[in-house]
Subunit: 269 residues, 2 copies
């Protein structure tokens, strides 16, 4: 079984991706983001996104109840259903689910978070409570197997649901690592807006074709900005039993098969 | 098996509904609307909803691609997931799905529609093409049975998917009638913002407690505005094999059990 994680960019050509997925002859689960959909809807609604910076410098989205309403619109509504539409049109029996549905992604809510807002330069760290964020601990394995056994392709996106039954924003990459552990997944694909891991961001020929997760520190050195999170996510997935991770560009033709053929970066044990 | 249809009002107290549903000891499917969520999001996005009036006076929402994007946000995103959240918090193993997911509601798209826009008084009837609307013909019985057999409560909402694989807006009440036929449903509940069918809209004591669908013409005479659609939907459901339909107020305490105890309107064969 293959786990495929596709970023939330609007630059991906889903017709392209769907045609490529149709040729796969192994069962798979798809997890997607919707970050750019979220940004667009916030803008149209006149809402400004707020970013919390933790004392250690880690950035996360401020997710109060109002923000989570928009999150649901963007992730579980617009992006998830438009993706399912394209997949179905290409003959894939896709079923779209959020982590909330059937308790698919069970999370622990962070009751409070300490940090300051990026949008308030010079402000001090404070306790932020009205923030619906959490960390995925478990996956509903029974539901996923039920769908796969009946030849459906699960198309999954955030948010998750907390043990108290509240919708919480979670990090997709960490949720995916929990799926790896609980579903004993060995192979994973990640598509994003880059050809793979580059030694030099400005030089495509510096693509790292093969690397072992043992060289984690080296990977972290090459990774810039949001790519750092991907490297950390990869580490966690390997810690959880993953054997191979394929990184590739979601914007090109046949992105999935190209990835599997080693045209991006292959990370191994 | 019970089919429960709940309108898209924001006046319903879902905590209340969930607590009542938790006490039901029969399997059920939930179908909900999200009309007021849709109106609110349109307003916040600065989009004006447009209504098409057919030559026979039937009103429907103009559903171009842009409108359907918002429809997905409101119905499949915000409303569906917030409802699933409340149900799950009350111990119900709810799984939210749109008619798109797993091909749950299969529709035939209307390639063109003839009508004029309500917002353009005095305009003539014309052919409107850029309109993603359709009529549900079939339900994915296998998927619904799979979920019910595994003790999930399906929480379903529009839109549907056309045979060409396009997301289309459909009438929930007609979709429900197709579910009645294909799942051999005998009992159905409808909750809306009224105590039931009233002989006189301004007089709650004029509630019709029991009526046979044979008196369809009489029902249609009492029904005003949007209630007419409910009466037509009821007729279709009975034509499709339904035995009993319970109408009741979604705004009161214990709305489902009150309905089943005959405190609203009971329609029989």
């Amino acid at each position: 079984m293959l786990l495929i994680k596709i970023g939330g960019s609007k630059k991906f050509d889903w017709e392209n991706i769907a045609k490529d997925l149709k040729e796969l002859n192994t069962p798979y689960i798809l997890v997607h983001g919707a970050n750019e959909y979220m940004k667009e809807i916030c803008k149209r609604m006149g809402e400004t996104e707020k970013i919390i910076i933790s004392p250690s410098g880690y950035e996360s989205r401020y997710s109060d109840s109002k923000t989570m309403d928009i999150f649901l619109q963007a992730y579980s509504g617009l992006a998830n259903k438009r993706i399912v539409e394209v997949l179905r049109r290409n003959g894939i029996d896709a079923i779209g689910l959020s982590g909330v549905d059937g308790g698919l992604w069970k999370a622990t809510k962070k009751e409070k978070i300490i940090g300051r807002f990026l949008e308030e330069p010079g402000s001090k760290n404070k306790v932020i409570r009205d923030n619906y964020v959490g960390k995925v601990d478990h996956v509903n394995v029974k539901l996923i197997r039920l769908l796969l056994d009946n030849n459906f392709v699960p198309v999954i996106t955030a948010p998750a649901i907390s043990s108290e039954g509240e919708i919480v924003n979670v990090d997709n990459d960490r949720a995916v690592a929990v799926m790896v552990r609980e579903l004993s997944i060995k192979d994973m694909i990640m598509l994003f807006e880059a050809p793979g891991l580059l030694r030099d961001l400005d030089d495509i020929s510096s693509l790292v074709k093969n690397i072992s997760i043992k060289n984690f520190d080296e990977m972290l050195k090459y990774a810039k900005a949001r790519m750092k999170k991907k490297v950390l996510g990869a580490k966690e997935a390997f810690d959880n039993g993953l054997e191979r991770m394929y990184w590739g560009d979601g914007r090109i033709k046949s992105p999935v098969s190209n990835c599997l053929q080693g045209k991006g970066t292959i990370i191994s044990r």
